[in-house]
Symmetry: C2
Subunit: 493 residues, 2 copies
Amino acid sequence: MLPWKNLILIQKTSSVPVYQQIANSIIQHIRSGVIKRGMKMPGTRELSQLLSVHRKTIVSAYDELDAQGWIHSLPSKGTFVSDQLPEIHPRKLETVSPGNFRWEKTGYNFRINPFIKPSTKPLRDMIGFHDGPDVRLVPVDAWGRSYRSVLSRKSGLHHLSYVQENGNYELRKVLSEELNTTRGMQTTPEHIFITRGSQMAMFMLAMVLIAAGDQVVVGQTNYYYTDRALMAAGARLVRIPVDDEGIDVDELEKICKRKKIRAVYVTSHHHFPTTVTLCAARRMKLLALAEKFGFIIIEDDYDYDLHYESSPLLPVASADRNGMVAYIGTLSKTVAPALRLGYVAAPLNLIAELGKIRQVIDIQGDPVLEQAVAEMFSLGEIRRHMKKVLREYHLRRDFLCSQLKKRFAELIQFKTPEGGLSVWARFDKSIPLPALHERMKKKGVIISSGMIHNTDPKMNLNATRMGFGWMNTQETGRSLEVLDETIAEMRKG
Amino acid sequence: MLPWKNLILIQKTSSVPVYQQIANSIIQHIRSGVIKRGMKMPGTRELSQLLSVHRKTIVSAYDELDAQGWIHSLPSKGTFVSDQLPEIHPRKLETVSPGNFRWEKTGYNFRINPFIKPSTKPLRDMIGFHDGPDVRLVPVDAWGRSYRSVLSRKSGLHHLSYVQENGNYELRKVLSEELNTTRGMQTTPEHIFITRGSQMAMFMLAMVLIAAGDQVVVGQTNYYYTDRALMAAGARLVRIPVDDEGIDVDELEKICKRKKIRAVYVTSHHHFPTTVTLCAARRMKLLALAEKFGFIIIEDDYDYDLHYESSPLLPVASADRNGMVAYIGTLSKTVAPALRLGYVAAPLNLIAELGKIRQVIDIQGDPVLEQAVAEMFSLGEIRRHMKKVLREYHLRRDFLCSQLKKRFAELIQFKTPEGGLSVWARFDKSIPLPALHERMKKKGVIISSGMIHNTDPKMNLNATRMGFGWMNTQETGRSLEVLDETIAEMRKG
């Protein structure tokens, strides 16, 4: 008899169920030939005693092996290892070239994109002034319950198949209602196109609306990935100043008189990265200019829901009577970065064209997730979550801003943002941000160098977004200690 | 006192919990002014008696309203409607233009894509010879359990944030092992880039590798959406014949001598749509030609796992020693269409470049789903599922093929496919497929007109893919009855 006790090792602490561990061990030994084809296996009672596990566990392991075709049972005879192992042995190809290629480099050249940097994702396992929501506040229970519930019910089956590329109807319906009640828009579900986060919304709009050489106006400093999506479509970016009331629409008017502008990208609620709100007068002028000069307004309202003062302004889209605006929204900022659900709201002919390009990018979205989130809306889970996090982020904003004012007034200039998750902090020239970033990282606290916002070396930008949403106030307190200490070191020399 | 019993209507059959229904009703009445600001609410005991529900339900409803800020409790005084309603009243914008615009048409023009048709998703609520897996076989329990488990554990938090754009490490690890053990490849997790289904893999490769005007070789008839992704990148398609052994590599060689070919797209395991397998000799010649002429092989192995004969051929990528192949795989065909997980396996420098373009398309993938699927692999759930469906699809293939042979031998020509989910059925000219499609749809059974495979009107293709995976054998039997009947009608007149 084989030394079963030594062959099958069970790790009680493993997350793999014990029956699965036993089955996996047996498969390994059949593969390696230790357990021979056609061999009779020990009975379940016998093996359970040898391994000191419950007999039911062995029965489950054998069931598993049987389902996979490794063993089979003959009534009143016992359990046998299969003669034909269930693994397919593919026919190998002879290689043309000898050698031990490790697939490091392609055998052909390709154009390296000159304007997109390899990503340097901030180290989210370190605390710091990260730009984004606190994932500890995400309603994971409701999300998991809702998702599983969609999968487990019979009517969920049609969410598993090929679906319309404009997205799940239920979710388009709740989003449309949301836009109509909270943002003064007049949409139907047919005006909504669900995307994988606001980035895909931007990317698709650029693919459909922008031709190579088209001139697109963006802020002097602007959201890095929007600029890249526009550039990938061949746009030439025309940068205009952004002051305390948003993008400078008078400057925009002058430019429009001089050259043909195809589109203007605007984050009206809070300009990215400077957090300023586009004032009402400029919103109306922007819309009037669009009508006059025929340019498209791409309004990216990525954080409309994150507002701590009483009266946000309605988006430009709410006043659009001539179909000049393509509106972008997202749930990634308000729920979780990993919840990649965004949308475009736009006139119907544009929605139809987006549907064509979407087929080519990834066929369709994620109907299970979309249905689950639609149900979280209907059950009030999203609204409840928003109220909770708004209260919390409001507190966190006030804490960071009061501390910055009290302790860093001479070195850091900022205006308290009306919403969002970050403060736009302009540092004194004596504290160069790239150096500060490096020094603080060594101490385990992240502050962005802000270099990504520096669209032109001549700008000499020494400013960054300091996130207040990602950390609780204790963590922010600790991070500010490290900031204080590091700045002191830097000033000493 | 307000007529609470009439104000708050409870639907016992609704899927919305009763406490939620009560809270929603109260919110509605506060909004409309029926319930006044500052008003004292009835006690929970009192309201529970009035509405004939359990008191706990009222407590839950009040908790909900409190959490949302609609009401608040004063100790020993009672519960009151808030003076400041928790709704933000945004400041409206005056519209520039009068009128009641319904957002039907944009106020500007844009280029209508000439080569992508608006999608006509087949009616999946009708039975028929759909091309795709049977969603009723999807392991929804394991999937839902696994997904929820990732969300519910503490270590799941880092899957909720921004992550690397090449995808979840655990999933890349299991996919790499899978490629190495089942397909003779030599990959590490660093060679794998996870995408949203094979379509996004194709789209990204086209964006990175193809420049406007590049000539790309594809089969005479080829997967519709691959052609579109290539065309969207500006490729000029060069079509070559496909016979019973796959694409004609001798013809390819002749073309390469005449003009510069940038890439060849091949579905080696089963050519789409004709289901033929690229034979071993042609695989090796294709690779040799790639090395000689410097073209890229894009090998799309979308259904490698769906194989019913004993010895599939290893993919071309398994013999690649010079980095000529970019390999595409997917889980959408094997698990569920809505599980949009695919991947590219390729040399490291290409993987890095894909990471740049991915940031622009949608920032990153879905880390929660990817982790959940990685765990389903580790637990053997995917392997178990595959064994189960392979057995079933094998049966279904044999059933459809034997029926076609027995009953339609004169009118439908086909070869039994070695794998996949569909039969490539060439119909007699006397049965034009578009007409057959229309007639059968009226009877509630779908058969594709095949027009999507007709890349050139001169081809006069009267062939289509008849899916055998989507239906069980009873359903296929019924559908064949309708086919029989409809053909008889068409031949009569």
